[in-house]
Assembly symmetry: C2
Homo-oligomer: 302 residues x 2
Amino acid sequence: MGELVVVGSVALDSVKTPFGAVEDALGGSATYFSYSASFFTKVRLVAVVGKDFSRDHLSRLEQRGVDLSGLQISEGQTFRWVGEYGYDLNEAHTLATHLNVFADFKPDLPQHYRSAPLIFLANIDPVLQREVLRQMKRPHLVALDTMNFWINGKRDALLSVLAEVDALVINDGEARMLTKEPNLIKAARTITSYGPKIVVIKRGEYGALMISNGRFFFTPAYPLESVFDPTGAGDTFAGGFMGMLAKSESLDEAALRRAIVYGSVMASFTVEDFSLNRLMRLEPEEIEARVQIFRDLVHFEI
Amino acid sequence: MGELVVVGSVALDSVKTPFGAVEDALGGSATYFSYSASFFTKVRLVAVVGKDFSRDHLSRLEQRGVDLSGLQISEGQTFRWVGEYGYDLNEAHTLATHLNVFADFKPDLPQHYRSAPLIFLANIDPVLQREVLRQMKRPHLVALDTMNFWINGKRDALLSVLAEVDALVINDGEARMLTKEPNLIKAARTITSYGPKIVVIKRGEYGALMISNGRFFFTPAYPLESVFDPTGAGDTFAGGFMGMLAKSESLDEAALRRAIVYGSVMASFTVEDFSLNRLMRLEPEEIEARVQIFRDLVHFEI
């Protein structure tokens, strides 16, 4: 399909898990997404950081070929998130969110971004997501992520942007919250009535499910014996998913399913270390090896 | 492989879910297991009921060809369970357990049961499970289920019987409790070091996973838009799993995986109504139809 634009956050995360801790480590939805997608396609990033953001972090993304011409560098501090996980790594406890320069973020897409065929609107204010969409010239595939904060706080704006979106990528708790429907299968189907014809629901250690054209597809999470830090797993998943679609010839059911598998495999690497540390030492052969193992994980014959 | 013996409970359940309630309905691990397995093989049941147990319930099982010559009918009341589920149908809240005649249950296998090639030791006291195993003549496959009550209360007896068992079928919380290992992949692998070379972990709405010969296999739960009552889902799953193995020519990896799929499909029917109501109106064609849908649910090509 071609190149891929992402708008979202670039952040500095301080995270504690039962296995260790990091402070002011590279994070943010657009960061994990871009780094993951860069293994499959050309990525163009839209975000904002403060003057305090390290040049070293930027060059990490540049080395992966990520286009940073849409990254604003503003007066002030970079967005910071402070979180903690217990032994149940499925749930993050947010201790602090400092929006800093992100509070006044006004995405402005460089001209050469606007004709990209695919765009991912990571978890930001739905009003901004719609504004970014207006700057794009008829993309082939628009996908969006969101969170409880916007579902509760800006429901109308969210539903309005959802009506213009092809794919929603969301976690299970948020899918239930958005639809007020405890049954996840019904929730997924309900979301397709809001606009997106493709709904991808992330279930953490339980994998992912997708509904597209009325058909369901399920994948487990790649089985790992050591999970260090789940931060960024969902955005890495979305990056692998959208990156593989960008690399595909078409957006048919087979391509969508393949993309879900690659997204799951990419997420499995992120959680093996803090921040983007595991992704930064990832080799393409390792991705293919896990995809092959994945096939065997679910294969059966009747 | 041939016929299948099951030892477990036959009970009268009073269950309340957000969608309705039943009182003194037919239940118990051996009941769900037998009924489910009877779609695939000859089942011989070992259990105990009281004099109050309805003749009508017995004939339901007899109609499915279940051999009840191992069912003791004792003076006193049948085992009763009272439970409730909230909107999160994953967790049962036990309100009361009246063991009644089950408290003095001493399984005694009829002679013609003892040479069966497969046996399922449903969730009962591990001391009794071992006693039953001693009555069997070298079965080809011994599988066992257990629960938190025995894991905490009779750990040594449980580990002792596990050492003689080929397959453990257990839910995820119990697998973690048994191994004291929060990571489920590690927990499954750890259990194989206790004896069972096959470990099947039931995850409710998240499906099931199996480790056998060091290889993992994952299946989702069959996607349902209406779940009425999850009671008996795990035992129905085990019945479908063991029933299909009994029907198979061999116990190789392909047969094990196929059996997991059939177990998942059988469980998907049980939860659609209270007690065994859905199973009682189930047609073999409906099973095959869901198995076909199951294939499409997880199929992808790289």
